[in-house]
Amino acid sequence: MNDHWLFIGAGYGITWASLCWYLLRLRRRERMAAAASGRGGEGARAGGPG
Amino acid sequence: MSLAVAAEGVTRRFGRRWALRGVDLTVPRGAVVALLGANGTGKTTLLRLISTLLKPTAGRLEVLGHTLPAGGDEIRTGAAFMTAGGHAYEELTGVENLRFAARMSGTDATDDDLRDALAAFDLRGAADLPVRGWSTGMRKRLELARLRLRPLELVLLDEPFVSLDEDGVGLVHDAVRGWRDAGAAVVIASHRVEDASRHADDVVRLVGGRVDDVTA
């Protein structure tokens, strides 16, 4: 049973990790785009989760 | 006089590059128009738009009485576009290249017609040799020979004088006169002012994708 929890933990962990990874990546690209367009702040609006 | 080409505010962009910005152009039937300008000023793009290869991003373009995008097939039947790079298959002979063009455009050209077209541009001796071994000037003549295969209402020539010898340039002038006398409109895009303007009724100069100056 114990190694089942290993699989379960890995599954939930990877799901959460990839969601966070995607959000962070989005946010980095948004900041880059905002900086490039010189309309600072709009895209980098920190309200979003992640 | 009816118009072969009527362009109003024709614009074309490729991504961030604006090749043409609001070009107005009228080419009456039976007229020769020289399209001058340095490299990269939009001459070729304009010809590609008129020949229906490209669609304009904005603006109105009427060719041979059809307002694009309608009438594409009618335009392609009546108009011909000689590209600067040419359109020849290396492994095929001169006659075979012309035969392919004739079949694709749906004209009933006999073998004799094809050979006559080649002979008109001094290619009789090379007619049965693969294009692979031909010189640049000979290839240019092959392009011109292809235009003789069918009756045309509009001829678009992109840099027709490049890599031709004096005789070859003379052949282009003869051909242009022939088309004009037959009532066809001819647009010559070239950076060679002298040659392009020789028979021109109109000279249009393109600078940075815009029409710079029109002189009658």
Binding site: M1, D3, H4, W5, F7, I8, A10, G11, Y12, I14, T15, W16, S18, L19, Y22, L23, L26, R29, E30, A33, A34, A36, S37, G43, R45, G47, G48, P49, G50 | F14, G15, R16, R17, W18, G40
Partner: protein, 219 residues
């Protein structure tokens, strides 16, 4: 907080609640034991994958009909999330399959088809990244998005036959109905998360396209 941000927080909260319910609150499945808990993620993520690729298909059609770049941007945003969801589905599937079937990879038709979706839509994204002209890029991408959606059901069907001919597929057990509610919560949560990420990715794509088009002109 604007609506999109709210959507983001709501979906995150629902995913968190679903995770807690699935991991800690519900008892282990009578037949499968604890491994069952992976399905509360696996199945909704697989659903999001299918939803995403269906959105790519719809947006591709809309682009081909209307030729407006916004449809293309919506399509690529969904394709990116679809690939992410497909990879996640595969990982979760193998993690579930190892304890359940005893092997990592059973050539199950659904698994195999999902695995094939990854290169298909990776191809879609790579073709895009290699094409500079936005109109060309959108046109070719839309064509691939459309063809892919036509081929996928037949790919699934053929893999299904291929498997059923060689050996009967290990049939996945039906789910105990009391778990349905948590599963439903998962569906809602991950669908909302998809909607949030999709729209936010679309907004980014729109900004980036604007930058691309307004940048310094060459020639």
């Amino acid at each position: 907080m604007n609506k999109l941000t709210m959507l983001g927080w709501v979906s995150i909260a629902l995913i968190a609640v679903g995770s807690v319910l699935g991991l800690a609150v519900l008892p282990a499945d009578a037949l499968q034991g604890e491994v069952q808990r992976l399905l509360y993620v696996h199945v909704p993520v697989a659903w999001v994958m299918m939803l995403a690729f269906f959105v790519v298909f719809l947006m591709s059609i809309l682009y081909l009909v209307q030729r407006q770049l916004k449809w293309d941007l919506l399509a690529v945003s969904a394709a990116e999330l679809g690939v992410l969801a497909a990879v996640l589905t595969l990982i979760l599937g193998t993690l579930w399959g190892r304890p359940t079937w005893g092997i990592w990879w059973a050539w199950d038709p659904r698994v195999t088809t999902t695995a094939l979706l990854v290169p298909i839509y990776t191809g879609y994204l790579v073709v895009r990244s290699m094409t500079e002209d936005p109109d060309r890029r959108a046109r070719w991408a839309a064509v691939i998005g459309l063809i892919a959606f036509v081929q996928v059901p037949i790919v699934y069907l053929s893999v299904f036959w291929w498997r059923s001919l060689h050996q009967p597929p290990s049939s996945p057990q039906s789910m105990w109905s009391a778990y349905g509610l948590v599963m439903l919560l998962g569906f809602v949560a991950y669908t909302l998360a998809f909607a949030y990420l999709w729209l936010r990715r679309y907004r980014l794509a729109a900004t980036e396209l604007e930058l691309e088009l307004s940048g310094p002109e060459e020639g």
